[in-house]
Amino acid sequence: MKLGFSAAFLSAALLAGTASAADKRWDGADDLPVNPLACSAGEANAAPAAKPYDGGRPTNAADKAGKPITLVDVPKLIGIGYFNATSKGMQDAAKALGNVTVKTDGPTEAKIDEQIKFIDNYITSGVDGILFAANDPVAIAPVLKKALSKGIHVVGYDANSAPDAREWFVNQAEFNGIAKAMIDSMAKEAGEDKSFAIVTSTFTTPNQARWIAEMWAYAQKCHPKLKWLETVEAQEDNNLSFNQATTLINKHGDKLAGLFGMTSVATPASAEAVTKAKLCGKVAVVGLATPNAMKPYVNADCVKSVVLWNPVDLGYAATYVMRAVVDGSLKPGATSVDAGKLGKLNVVNGSEILLGSPFIFTKQNIKDFDF
């Protein structure tokens, strides 16, 4: 009887899960408001209203203006090409600035609990500033607030936290901009009325969820005939990404005309899966990835568009922003910040600093990049 109860409970829970899935044709997106861009470049976008500064502030931070500072960088995880690139940018900036020491350390898996522990330990060991890329915007907030309360400066990059848990966030590209670039490329390559699927990291990863939400909104507005098959999770795992992409190809057969890779791991793995299935030219692959990983597929004409920004620049900018915060030259209400060789970067959305528009790597330009 008790066994019956457990079984009944579990199947009820399972039913609840599938029932709630049924009313959403797409998944992997968050529930935050979306702001799709205009369909064609010519149309003007309504300029977002200027928002007042909404970041946090450290309490009794030591005055280190112009003095040497020690920073720690805690990315989502260490040991993957993307965060190696941001880390390289930070080292470049540290060298250019001359009075900054940055160390990159973090979990070997993208787990929020581990990331929190790393940050917590660095608060105890004592640093002047923490740079982070959040695995979860809300879960990371308490530990970042703890850092602020101990007088440690906090600047985010790549993946944001709740705004009041950090001072500034360096945004590599706006979500709706990435979404537009991705959907436009797919519509152009696969066709306006074709079906596609998405390979993402996990449904709870904030960036990917945000992009998918914006892609959905933009596609509804500008390419309503595109068909959304499904979104699958593949962590940031090369093998799993390849397997998931292969499964999608086998499962949907001729219906599948395109694959989106939402991570720098999923995109090359999806391209590899399409290559192995001998479907180059039949299944379009569009995604976020670093150029070096994509060069073989782009040169073989299997992939036409790779969407990204320059992660080395992102790490570089984050370090300059941190230095400017410590020096007091970047204060709440500022409209731009000087970022060394990158020039002046604009403040958007209250407390975010925009690196620039997304960049699309193609066969013509990909050879010029090496990261």
Partner: protein
């Protein structure tokens, strides 16, 4: 053997070297503390040590029933997934079903117990080996967590809920009190009750235990259910600490938990182990990780050190055991 201070302990049930293993581990821990404390002045501060207690509570709560299970020669690999499932159902029942939060907490604890109960009933009735059954439910419970949550994080809990995860009580992290109480109860149960002694009997020789009229299946059912319940409790503490519910919570916990239990001298073959050892094992892993991090050792190198410590301690334990058995 006169080393054993408790006269009612049967010699065969608790071999003499067991106490030595834990004493040895405690000595190593002490040395590690002194060395790491010497390398970094911020390591041996009360603030840091209490904070480490806060961080280790979730794993610690599950390590206690895991000690019981491993003593019987069993294993529970599904605990991390139960943490995920309970966390999701806590958030989901509150936000989507509209339960009041206290009821949602009770519901999620109940689910944890039910998940453990399911493990126990299949293991005892269908005679599926614990390893197989809990690998299966490791996947099943995680799948349920992901299916139910549909990738939606649940956030924005009321302020009072953060008490257990983030506040202090008499200067000590609130969840650490919970862990301390659980430790004391588990130690008494294991050491001073018939139930506790039955666990050793099952681990030493299950057939003999059955012939002695011990309620083997009922005892097993209880410990697997307890394991699920404690994983549920751990989920509540975790959600309260990190303020958000995600379906990937608790991934890999089973390994942290088992590492602590085994490092603490509990034999994976059953029949041997103490709560005291598990507590030392937990402290050892957490403080090593923390101490190494504070001294500037990077995350990936820390994992290597922890792995090495585990292997070494197991080697020492088994060589001591061989010497005792005269092999």
């Amino acid at each position: 053997m006169s080393e054993i201070p408790l006269p009612h302990r049967a010699k065969r049930v608790v071999p003499w070297w067991l106490l030595r293993h834990e004493t040895m581990l405690a000595v190593i821990l002490l040395i590690a503390l002194i060395v790491l404390g010497g390398l970094n002045s911020r390591f041996l501060t009360l603030d840091n040590l209490l904070n480490q207690g806060r961080l280790t509570t979730e794993v610690g709560l599950i390590a206690l029933p895991m000690t019981f299970i491993i003593i019987t020669g069993g294993i529970d690999l599904s605990v991390g997934s139960i943490v995920g499932l309970c966390a999701i159902l806590l958030g989901y029942s509150w936000k989507v079903f509209g339960f009041p939060l206290p009821l949602a907490i009770c519901f999620s604890l109940l689910v944890g117990a039910a998940a453990g109960f399911l493990n126990g009933i299949v293991i005892t009735r269908v005679k599926v080996p614990p390893l197989i059954m809990t690998i299966a439910t490791l996947a099943l419970y995680r799948g349920l967590a992901e299916g139910i949550s549909q990738a939606r994080s649940v956030r924005g809990y009321p302020e009072w809920f953060y008490f257990i995860g983030q506040e202090n009580l008499f200067g000590v992290p609130a969840q650490l009190w919970l862990l301390l109480i659980a430790i004391v109860i588990s130690a008494i149960v294991l050491d001073r009750t018939i139930f506790g002694r039955t666990l050793y009997a099952i681990g030493n020789n299950e057939t003999a235990a059955r012939f002695s009229g011990l309620p083997v299946d009922r005892v097993k059912l209880i410990i697997y259910t307890l394991s699920g319940l404690m994983a549920g409790l751990s989920a509540c503490v975790l959600v309260s600490r990190v303020t958000t519910t995600r379906s990937d919570m608790g991934i890999g916990y089973e390994l942290d938990v088992i590492a602590a239990v085994v490092l603490g001298g509990t034999s994976i073959f059953g029949g041997v182990g103490t709560i005291w050892g598990t507590v030392v094992g937990l402290a050892m892993i957490q403080l090593l990780k923390n101490g190494l991090a504070l001294t500037g050792v990077k995350g990936d190198a820390t994992i290597v050190v922890i792995g090495t410590v585990l292997i070494l301690s197991t080697l020492v334990a088994s060589s001591l055991q061989r010497r005792r058995e005269g092999v």
